[in-house]
């Protein structure tokens, strides 16, 4: 069983340190969520793992192999795939091209065709939108493309950054149900969310981040009832 281990990870943008030593574990058989306020460093953590940041120190490993200093393509080829904040689909390409780009590093045509079918089974709407230019899709459909594109790489661990951003509550529910489905099919998930209640409700394990550090961590059901979490993120008291 693969585990993503992050130990005393520090990361900075220029001279400003954003992560001040983060330690956590993400198991590939679990749905883990990472919650926290805006600017806590959640996205930075994902970018550090997937090789988008240059100034990173500390240790990150996957399957016992270090990930520090590896460029983004080599992280993807190891089965860790990042669905970025704001979806970042390719706006002037069709849905099909977006999905095929998700499988960029793969050479098994038959497997790609099979995964395309699986993506359509997961998001039937995308089959209808197959030849449509991505920028003309609705926000929810664009999020579906982003997730499906990530799955096309056949990940073992999918990192999702705020998939609920800017979506109507009903759509958020639908997207989260799909994530559970993906998880049941055997893909590990690390879900970064501001929508703490929704994220903790579907997760096995949760972490809470505050200003560049982990504040809490544990089984999601416990965090959901933790008075500190309720006070800070769930609007309870």
């Amino acid at each position: 069983m693969s585990v993503l281990r992050v130990e005393s990870l520090k990361a900075s943008y220029g001279h400003i340190e954003v992560l001040h030593g983060v330690t956590l574990e993400v198991r590939a058989d679990e749905l883990t969520c990472l919650i926290g306020a805006n600017g806590a460093g959640k996205s930075t953590l994902l970018k550090a793992v997937t090789g988008l940041l240059r100034h990173v120190s500390g240790e990150m490993s996957w399957d016992g192999e270090t990930l520090v200093g590896r460029p983004a393509p080599s992280i993807v080829s190891r089965g860790i795939v990042h669905v970025p904040e704001g979806r970042r689909i390719f706006p002037r390409m069709t849905v099909e091209e977006n999905l095929r780009l998700g499988a960029f590093l793969r050479r098994d045509r038959a497997g790609i065709a099979q995964d395309l079918e699986r993506a359509f089974a997961l998001f039937p709407r995308l089959r209808e939108r197959f030849g449509q230019v991505a920028s003309t899709l609705s926000g929810g459909e664009q999020q579906m493309v982003a997730i499906a594109r990530g799955l096309m790489a056949r990940p073992r661990l999918l990192l999702l950054d705020e998939p609920s951003l800017g979506l109507a509550p009903l759509l958020v529910q639908e997207i989260f149900r799909k994530l559970q489905e993906v998880h049941r099919e055997g893909v590990g998930i690390l879900l970064v969310e501001q929508n703490a209640f929704a994220a903790l409700s579907i997760a096995n394990r949760g972490y809470v981040m505050e200003t560049g550090k982990l504040a809490l961590g544990g089984p999601a059901s416990e965090l959901l009832h933790d008075p500190r979490v309720q006070a800070a993120y769930l609007g309870g008291g």
Binding site: P73, V76, H82
Partner: protein, 367 residues
């Protein structure tokens, strides 16, 4: 008569289009106007000339040093990316520089048949484009765009002056080159006919009232074949898809596993190779090769790229043709001294009426 002149316009337009494609591809992917592109066009012509016509030892050494430096930069960068080991990359760069430097030195002194020189020159120009990006533009990728733009102008001036040092500022020509007739697939060529005469002066192809030289036909054919090839590459292949992905969102492209630096290098290589092809063909056609030839051609081709919609490859092709035809019409109306002005007039009118260019996306205005 009009048809004949339009044919001339289409020929020049096809050459402009070949150059314009290089501007537009680079702009599309890194949003930079590569002002050094005209110099790549010029170097293509000079390198081809240097191989076909006997060079002086000084010229040969200059060309060899220049080519060696390019080889060092490109080999070092690729090896460093691949292995991550600096000493290995340095060794590789040194080996590549020595090999290519010696080959170019020998080639310049030995005189190589034109078709081979042509391909070698195009390859070297592609390398020049890649090396310029690595040395001058890549370190500035996150700086303000104006910085990179001014750097591009600087690179252009340095290259132009370097060419002047190596080959002097005078006009050079392929006329001195006597090729073996067999190279050009003509059996019945009169004794002593030179290469240039064969291509340009002799042997007109006739089609009804139209006639064109072998060279003109060759320019048209090559330009259209290359542009068709480029179009297929960009729209149909995986590499083309990666290029478009990098043009639209580089971060997302990296998350797909695309090696963005490599794709940018390939883009520069392709654009530069096409520019060099145009440089050699126009150098033959106009019968003049000089260090400043890249400036004017570059300005026209850049106008063509803007005319068609900068960043848009089919647009650059259309823009080049429109500009070439506009210039030939100027000649038809006996305004040949105005032909440059007319080219600009066309460009300015199009930009006023359609700011995104002929084929550019019509984006809503920013308020």
């Amino acid at each position: 008569m009009l048809a004949q002149i339009l044919l001339l316009g289409v020929t020049m337009g096809a050459a402009y289009a070949l150059i314009a494609v290089g501007y537009t591809m680079v702009y599309g992917i890194i949003e930079l106007i590569n002002f050094a592109h005209g110099e790549i066009y010029m170097y293509g012509a000079f390198m081809c000339l240097a191989f076909t016509i006997a060079s002086t030892p000084f010229q040969a050494a200059g060309a060899a040093l220049f080519a060696g430096a390019l080889a060092w930069v490109v080999a070092f960068d690729r090896m460093l990316e691949r292995s991550g080991s600096k000493p290995l990359a340095q060794g590789c760069g040194l080996a590549a520089a020595l090999t290519l430097g010696l080959a170019v030195y020998g080639g310049c002194l030995a005189r190589i048949p034109f078709p081979v020189s042509f391909l070698l020159a195009v390859g070297l120009a592609a390398m020049l484009g890649v090396a310029i990006e690595i040395v001058a533009y890549r370190p500035l990728r996150d700086s303000p765009r104006l910085t990179a733009l001014i750097t591009a102008i600087g690179v252009s001036l340095v290259l132009q002056n370097l060419a002047q040092v190596i080959w002097s500022a005078e006009n050079h020509t392929f006329r001195k080159y006597d090729a073996h007739p067999a190279l050009f697939l003509r059996q019945n060529m009169p004794e002593g006919t030179s290469f240039w005469q064969t291509l340009v002066e002799g042997h007109y192809l006739q089609a009804g009232p139209l006639s064109m030289s072998l060279l003109q036909a060759f320019i048209l054919l090559t330009a259209f074949a290359l542009m068709l090839g480029l179009h297929l590459l960009v729209t149909r292949t995986k590499l083309g898809m990666a290029m478009r992905a990098c043009a639209q969102d580089q971060v997302a492209a990296r998350l797909m596993g695309i090696d963005v630096n490599r794709v940018i290098s390939i883009t520069f290589a392709i654009g530069s190779a096409l520019g060099a092809v145009a440089g050699i063909l126009v150098g033959l056609y106009r019968d003049e090769i000089k260090p400043t030839m890249g400036y004017q051609a570059g300005v026209f081709a850049f106008s063509a790229a803007v005319l068609g919609g900068i960043g848009n490859i089919p647009g650059a092709m259309v823009g080049g043709l429109v500009l070439g035809v506009a210039q030939s019409l100027a000649i038809y109306w006996e305004l040949s001294e105005w032909s440059t002005g007319i080219a600009y007039l066309v460009m300015i009118s199009v930009i006023i009426l359609r700011p995104a260019g002929l084929m550019g996306a019509q984006l809503p205005r920013k308020s």
